[in-house]
Subunit: 332 residues, 2 copies
């Protein structure tokens, strides 16, 4: 993949996170299921924001976090996601560009505001997301820079975008474009509820050419409608050339042709905030894979990135991941 | 002071901080003196923002940080500071209100934007501030809620606001109002350069009735135009009933009538970001003092709050300070 201008290009919901701490009782009060992501309307955002505690604003968005992670490892990365011409849009584009990521999406005027997610972190470090999808879900085929996709070794698609038909259409165009250029295509299932809503479409997309699938335990079980992780994993390995399945503290398992690699989770001193753990796991794996490292090393880079993000508030790395990886002698 | 509705009311620049990490060389590049606060124009903010790394947005403002700290200790607090009707204004007012602080300032439409400070944190944890003073410096006498001032045990004035004549006028009105209601008035000198610019006015204000003065080493030396800390401290104790002088890692000294109390700095595992250390020191002291605790205990609360803030990015407490103080048995 030496001829690729970028290691990874991601397409996802461009979001700014508004992160605050809360007690378990507050989640009950607002009717949010702990650990989940739910979509909320503008009015609900207002209501929750007015009653939640002090917050910090940090760029987020699942796919964007992954791309930020790839860049933090020293990878060449690009991103496509729609923002509005507002303060949060400026924050989002500054933060991703300042990492050296190629981000050319122009702010869209006179539409919905930039998407935001109210993230509530309970004392155990678990995050519960209340996402207001503003302009980010307006993404359609016209927002794709097809040359950028052709020039990237791996295309990375964020499952959260699957809620709108025009975004699904854009995904198919992106996938076809990448495949025709001889590139690899990866997908993250993003969320169990999201898989529930669009199981058929996800399976169709996967079987039409996804090379690498990222999923956690609940997502892969939901995809194959089974309570057995082993059964789901078996199904995944027959459907996809490379299935990367994460299991939180139990580590992860990478299923390739006739090969299965188990990666243990990195020890974590204190779980401060799990937001972005899966996103950063994907970042480490994609960086390693794009650079031709072994599945084992790619998995270790993934675990390292997930552990860094869990140790502080927010889903963007606080220190250069390349430095951490060098300290651990995973990269030269 | 049992009849006071609030323990402390603060008046200051309402600011949202934009905090990012940088190398020492970047400070040289943009011509910023490490550790200082400098005022920059809107155009400079743009230039610095475009070249600085990824950032997080967290409510700030020196006096507002202090008031947030008082509330975090469980104190009843109020704040006066002007914001615009924009995203940063909404962030600022949400964050301070969500702590239970009485904040009634209405957003000002059609003026300058809400003030912001680009804060660059070097690897040693030192912060360098590039502040764009938007609407916050428009504060004048009409923005004061005099009843709120009369009902607060201690008035706290932020020296940074001294750059505009109408704000100085507002300070004098606030001071007179508080004194006539039998309240205590405190002032922080905020910044050595700020003292340089307004030495005469500061001294006049101090001698016209300030009861408690907060200053760090460079500020108090600048105020009395001496290179000797001991000399400056001596001058301060003859000018002000209660002078609270901080000396970073060397701890602090509290000078009252015929009494001097030395407080050692709390041990800090890792200096992550010094932003707000002085602000939170003042918070701990003011809370203890307002609640009638001894100078020693008030100083220990001050050190504890400063240590908490230095251990993470941003100048607002990440955990309730009341809890930390109870663990240390400083409050019941």
């Amino acid at each position: 993949m030496a001829d690729a201008r970028h290691d990874v290009i991601g397409i996802g919901n461009a979001i700014v996170d508004i992160i605050g701490r809360c007690d378990e009782s507050y989640l009950t009060e607002i009717g949010a299921a702990k650990g989940s992501m739910r979509l909320v309307e503008a009015g609900d955002v207002q209501k929750i924001y007015q009653t939640m505690g002090p917050a910090v604003e940090i760029s987020g968005g699942s796919g964007a976090n992954t791309i930020a992670g790839v860049a933090s490892f020293g990878g060449r990365a690009a991103y496509i996601g729609t923002i509005a011409d507002d303060e949060f849009g400026r924050i989002f584009s500054h933060d991703i560009r300042s990492l050296g990521v190629t981000y050319e999406s122009q702010p869209i005027a006179n539409g919905a505001p930039t998407s935001r997610s109210l993230i509530l972190v309970t004392p155990d470090g678990e995050r519960t997301m209340n996402t207001f999808l503003g302009i980010s879900t307006d993404l359609d085929e016209t927002h794709l820079n097809l040359d950028l996709i052709r020039e990237s070794a791996i295309l990375y698609l964020e499952g959260y975008l699957f809620d709108r038909p025009q975004a699904q259409k854009a995904f198919r165009l992106a996938l076809d474009t990448a495949k025709k250029a001889g590139r690899k295509v990866s997908l993250t299932l993003s969320d169990g509820f999201c898989v529930d809503r669009h199981r058929g479409e996800f399976l169709e997309l996967i079987r039409s050419g996804i090379d690498i699938l990222f999923a956690n335990e609940s997502e892969i079980k939901s995809l194959y409608q089974t309570e057995s992780f082993d059964l789901a994993a078996k199904q995944a390995s027959s459907d996809i050339p490379l299935a990367v399945l994460t299991r939180s503290a139990k580590g992860s398992i990478i299923l390739a042709d006739n090969k299965s690699v188990e990666i243990s989770a990195d020890p974590i001193e204190q779980v401060v905030d799990t937001t972005g753990a899966g996103d950063l796991y994907a970042a480490g794996f994609l960086f390693g894979y794009a650079r031709g490292l072994s599945l084992e090393t790619s998995g270790q880079l993934a675990s390292l990135a997930a552990a860094e993000i869990i140790g502080h508030l927010g889903a963007r790395p606080e220190v250069p991941l390349a430095e951490l990886a060098r300290q651990r002698r995973l990269i030269p």
